[in-house]
Amino acid sequence: MKMTRKEFLRVMGLAAAGAGAGTLFTVVTPKMLADTVAAKADAKPRWAMVVDFQKCRFGEDCEQCLAACKEAHNLPEVSSRAHEIKWVWKERFETVFPEQQTDYTRQAYVKHPLPVLCNHCDDPPCVRVCPTQATWKRADGVVMMDYHRCIGCRYCMAGCPYGSRSFNFEDPKPRVARPNPEFPTRTKGVVEKCNFCEERLAKGQMPACVEKCKQKAMTFGDLRDPNGPVRRLLAARYAIRRRTELGTGPGVYYLI
């Protein structure tokens, strides 16, 4: 039976579709499995941070943790507030904990700034919504970013209930004041956030902000270690976390 041109094109189309589907299964699926299997590292610590509000001296213009983070990670100095990149920054108490504020706490805490950063939640909404797994939660609690995979859709920014993420609206490299050769910069079009200094954790060091704080207001450690510094602080004093009613399980505690 002679094949007409139309039938030939139809067969070619089906063959192409079949080849595409075959590629999808033979190439993509193993890749997907490899990613998820490999991501399950040995479950060891659960990193968390405790910020002591009483020790933190932001009221006296201290910005050491901010500067430490900026230098360690090549954060750019962006002039317009709209495009700023911030991993850890200061906010006033009443904006961080609006539900805690009444007219009667005005004297004690209001207008007193404290540091805010990515909370590295137990159940992060940003990880839930990322379409490419460019952000994921490590077994040790750190919510990671892969700048190579990020497509810049900014869904994670919409998903974060804390406003912890920043987007590179322009190329950040020209605006990095003092480049740190041990850490790469990012490119325009990707989202970034605090990474709990995972590159320093890998070398057994403390996060930069924790190390540089003169007042020792920030403590970092393993939440699973009952004798560790974090657990001892939490057992001794009352701590609050941001927006716990959302079920995210933040890993940054604030001692009041």
Partner: protein, 146 residues
């Protein structure tokens, strides 16, 4: 053949456009011989055999990237048993190929490879600008943007 003139003109324009790479190459004085690579002074062995690196260094870099970023495994054991820290900037560019333009760029521009934008972030210029001080930093980083 009434339309001889436009046809011939069209053919000439086509041939000219088709051979543009040749003209551009001649104009840029691109040498025909293979690029000369400046090899590292101190290190004699690469992390993998030369033939493998020639063929598949991009694949190895992708494996390194996924290993370090996604799995947190930062140590690479080479074929000769030596252990390396998985880092494009600190190991590849830091220990051996300190000047990208003397090594990486030579083959890349000869072969017309414009794809890898790794250097947008993992720049060797960063090493030098850190040494040169903060003043040179912004200027040099700006030049290194593209």
């Amino acid at each position: 053949m009434r339309d001889r003139v436009p046809i011939v003109c069209g053919l000439l324009i086509f041939v000219a456009l088709f051979t543009v790479p040749v003209w551009r190459g001649l104009a840029a004085h691109t040498p025909a011989r293979q690029p000369e690579l400046k090899l590292p002074e101190t290190e004699k062995h690469c992390v993998a055999p030369v033939e493998y690196m020639r063929r598949a260094h991009m694949q190895m870099l992708i494996d390194w990237r996924d290993s370090a970023v996604r799995r947190g495994e930062r140590t690479f054991t080479a074929y000769d048993g030596r252990k390396y820290n998985i880092s494009l900037t600190q190991t590849c560019l830091g220990q051996c190929h300190v000047e990208r333009k003397d090594f990486c760029d030579r083959c890349h521009s000869y072969a017309g490879v414009s794809g890898p934008y790794c250097f947008d972030c993992h720049a060797d210029r960063m090493l030098k600008t850190a040494a040169a001080g903060a003043d040179g930093a912004m200027l040099a980083a700006q030049r290194g943007t593209r």
